[in-house]
């Protein structure tokens, strides 16, 4: 079952990647990133069955980081929205040359 879990994890990861690349809505991109994180978490949990509890611990940490990231990320999105009246990432490209 490990192989299937890992393949599922890979599939979820790739779908998340796709989401990050093709979507413009910052929130959806954010969700896709969470999806990638989840895919990795799944791999960790599946492997922890075979390597020890550390995999689960790592998932725990990843979740904490995800929570922190969500809080800050959403705050950023809110303040961007306040300024541009949109969350379309094409519209804020101040990082451009």
């Amino acid at each position: 079952m490990l192989a299937y879990a890992l393949l599922l994890s890979a599939a979820l990861f790739v779908i998340g990647t796709l989401g990050v690349i093709v979507r413009r809505n910052a929130i959806i991109i954010f969700l896709s990133i969470e999806l990638q994180l989840n895919a990795v978490n799944l791999a960790f949990v599946a492997l922890s069955r075979y390597t020890g509890i550390e995999g689960q611990l790592f998932v725990f940490f990843v979740m904490t980081v995800a929570a922190a990231e969500a809080a800050v990320g959403l705050a950023i999105i809110i303040s961007i929205f306040r300024h541009y009246k949109t969350v379309n990432v094409d519209r804020f490209n101040l990082l451009k040359w």
Binding site: V20, N93, W97
Partner: protein
């Protein structure tokens, strides 16, 4: 030294103790540093007030008020105070060491300073007979000069700064002479160089004077390079820079007369030549007279410039192993002595005369060190410290008086030019007397200090010239003859100085004459003390052959060969090596034979004759004041007046080519090649950056895409490779 070993003199009754603990040796070094810090703080406060006044658009005159500000009163006590305590401590330690029969130096380690690879440098000081003599000279003469400075610098706005520098100098000088290794010595070496620079350029608003400071600094760097290279070689050969292991292991590790030891000693000599103003690196010392006169007395006559002699004496073991280097050292010394003495004949500035005299005397010391008479070199160093400090301080008193008087008379004539003086003896009795004492001492008139020390150097030159295995015997004979001539020249130019300055008609500005008067007590007291030392200082080392004759007052001069015995633990090894290599010195003149007594008698008589002749010849001459003395001397006198064209030669041979090369480097190498390359790199980077920046779309999706691409590559590599 064979002489000392074969002819032990009567020892003074001493209480012998096997073990000796130095008393607060670190404090001797530390006290001047503390003085520097205290005076430095005062100087900073004074500078703050001065700059605040400048911002407000006025000048701050610290002496305008009814009382001197505290920044200008405290250094009076701090500066000489720390010196006095240090001198007392040094005396105390000297007394302790005197009572001890000590053959090994006492090394006090404070902390490990640098450890890197095999190199370990400790902050350690070494107390032995040699460093003790140097400590006494530095702190003793230093103290007197500090006291003198209180009077001399009284009306200078930079009063606290002056004492801060002076204290700092003494600190570094003590580190130099007390350091227990070449590394510590080098710190002191560089430190005194720095202080020398600071003090020469003390009146830094005067362009000429700050240039003189720079010149001294730069010329010294050349010598320091030699010192550094010598240290590298020493480290390569011994794996350490501490004196102890180097001198103990030198004989075993270095082949006598070999290339390594010759290279080391020659490089050390280069360093010493720089610091001690030997030909051709002597050019900075006369210019260094731009500094305040007490500075000239302390740094450029009594202590710092003798550091080279100290170093050669300290490294005596190494020099004994390298006879070629010794010949070079002696040759440089004697050449310097001769050239400087000749130049001194044609100088008009009173301090310049003394400066060349100093260079000349340093040459004598190197001659002594070069021929293996290390004790004699140190002996001459010590007596020279006394009478040359006295001469400078006396000149200082004269300049002080002249300056004061000319200032009162609103005259702009040069206060240092002897042609503007004359007849001062009536107005400055004490100065006149003590200056004559010093002049007779330096001229080598019996029984003053210079007689014993200089005579001993000349005597040893002759003795080693006659050593059976000395390959440079003939050369040493030439040295001896030149030294004799130079000694006569010394007597002549010093008498000339005295005559022009103190005797004859007064050429001082008519309006200024009434204002001329003797220096205050605070200046004359050190003069008198130094005069006493100049008289009796030579008695600590009356040569054995003279001791029982009338030149030694039939044994009444108490301390026959005392310095020899005192320094024997330090110089013993070198003497043994030298005797083994060259054979026993022959105590007699190489050309005509004769005992030391006869030559000594002849020497002092010759000196006396020269002095009297000069008095007669020069006393009757009419001199003209500087403003009207427009005659350009020709021939040899012209050459001498122009100092053998050393500066011009350096200018043409080194400075101008370097400047031309620099300009070429600037115009061609820098502007065209380097700038071109740098600009090319910059432009290329900009172009490349602009190209790459096209990828920087500012859109998160693009970045994610490229990121994924990269991950894909890494993953693919990991999976498939």
């Amino acid at each position: 030294m064979a002489l000392a070993a074969s002819m032990p003199g009567p020892h003074l009754p001493v209480q012998e103790v096997a073990h000796w603990e130095p008393v607060l040796p670190g404090l001797i070094v530390l006290l001047p540093l503390l003085g520097f810090v205290a005076n430095g703080i005062l100087a900073l406060r004074a500078a703050a007030r001065s700059s605040a006044a400048l911002r407000a658009g006025t000048d701050w005159d610290p002496f305008a008020g009814p009382a001197r500000p505290r920044t200008h009163t405290l250094p009076t006590w701090i500066g000489p105070g720390v010196m006095f305590v240090a001198f007392v401590l040094a005396l105390w330690n000297f007394a302790g060491l005197y009572g001890a029969e000590l053959h090994d130096p006492v090394v006090v380690r404070y902390w490990t300073w640098i450890v890197t690879g095999n190199l370990q440098i400790d902050a350690a000081i070494q107390l032995d007979q040699l460093s003790m003599i140097m400590m006494l000279v530095v702190t003793g003469v230093g103290f007197l000069i500090h006291v003198f400075s209180v009077g001399y610098m009284k009306d200078d706005t930079g009063y606290p700064r002056y004492f801060a520098y002076l204290n700092l100098f003494v600190f570094f000088m003590l580190v130099l002479v007390m350091g227990a290794g070449y590394a510590m010595m080098f710190i002191g070496w560089e430190g005194v160089g720095l202080c020398s620079y600071l003090l020469i350029g003390y009146w830094f608003t005067d362009r000429e004077k700050s240039d003189a400071g720079k010149k001294a600094f730069i010329v010294n760097r050349i010598g320091d390079l030699g010192f550094l290279l010598a240290m590298f070689l020493l480290f390569q050969a011994f794996g350490t820079l501490d004196f102890g292991p180097i001198f103990e292991g030198a004989e075993g590790r270095l082949a006598a007369g070999g290339a390594t030891v010759t290279a080391i000693t020659l490089l050390l000599m280069l360093g010493a030549a720089g610091k001690s103003a030997q030909v051709p690196l002597h050019v900075w010392l006369p210019d260094a007279m731009a500094g305040p006169t007490p500075v000239s007395a302390l740094i450029h006559a009594a202590t710092m410039v003798t550091a080279g002699v100290y170093m050669v004496a300290r490294s005596s073991v190494l020099y004994a192993l390298a006879p070629t280097s010794q010949a070079v050292v002696a040759g440089v010394g004697v050449l310097t002595a001769l050239l400087a003495a000749t130049i001194a004949l044609q100088q008009h500035d009173i301090k310049k005369v003394l400066a060349y005299s100093t260079v000349s005397q340093l040459g004598f010391m190197f001659l002594g060190a070069g021929v293996g008479a290390f004790t004699a070199a140190i002996f001459h160093l010590m007596t020279h410290a006394f009478f040359k400090a006295l001469l400078f301080l006396g000149a200082g008193a004269v300049i002080h008086a002249m300056h004061h008087a000319l200032h009162k008379a609103d005259s702009h004539e040069d206060a240092q030019d002897m042609r503007n003086m004359g007849g001062l003896k009536d107005r400055m009795r004490i100065t006149w007397v003590v200056m004559w004492v010093a002049t007779l001492a330096i001229a080598g008139i019996w029984p003053l200090a210079g007689f014993f020390s200089k005579d001993e150097i000349i005597w040893y030159t002759a003795a080693w010239a006659g050593a059976p295995s000395n390959p440079f015997g003939t050369l040493y004979t030439v040295y001896w003859l030149v030294a004799l001539v130079t000694a006569m020249l010394t007597a002549f130019y010093m008498t000339r100085l005295m005559v022009i300055t103190f005797h004859g008609q007064s050429r001082v500005d008519r309006n200024a004459r009434p204002h001329l008067h003797e220096a205050p007590r605070v200046m004359t007291v050190p003069l008198v003390i130094l005069a006493v030392l100049s008289v009796f200082g030579g008695w600590v080392n009356v040569p054995e052959p003279l001791a029982e004759s009338f030149l030694g007052l039939f044994g009444a001069l108490p301390m026959s060969e005392w310095l020899h015995h005192w320094l024997e633990p330090v110089t013993h090894d070198a003497a043994a090596i030298q005797t083994a290599a060259l054979g026993e010195p022959v105590y007699g003149a190489p050309l005509v034979g004769g005992g030391e007594f006869a030559w000594a008698l002849a020497s002092t008589l010759a000196a006396a004759v020269v002095v009297l002749a000069a008095l007669r010849a020069l006393g009757g001459r009419k001199y003209v004041a500087a403003a009207r003395d427009t005659a350009v001397p020709g021939g040899l006198r012209g050459i001498l007046a122009n100092k053998w064209y050393f500066d011009e030669a350096f200018d043409a041979g080194i400075v101008r080519p370097v400047l031309a090369a620099s300009r070429w480097c600037w115009k061609v190498v820098d502007t065209v090649l380097i700038d071109g390359f740098v600009n090319f790199v910059g432009n290329f980077t900009r172009l490349a950056g602009w190209t790459v920046s096209l990828f920087q779309t500012g859109q998160a999706n693009t970045y994610a895409f490229v990121l994924t691409l990269g991950v894909l590559l890494v993953l693919g590599a990991a999976v498939f490779l």
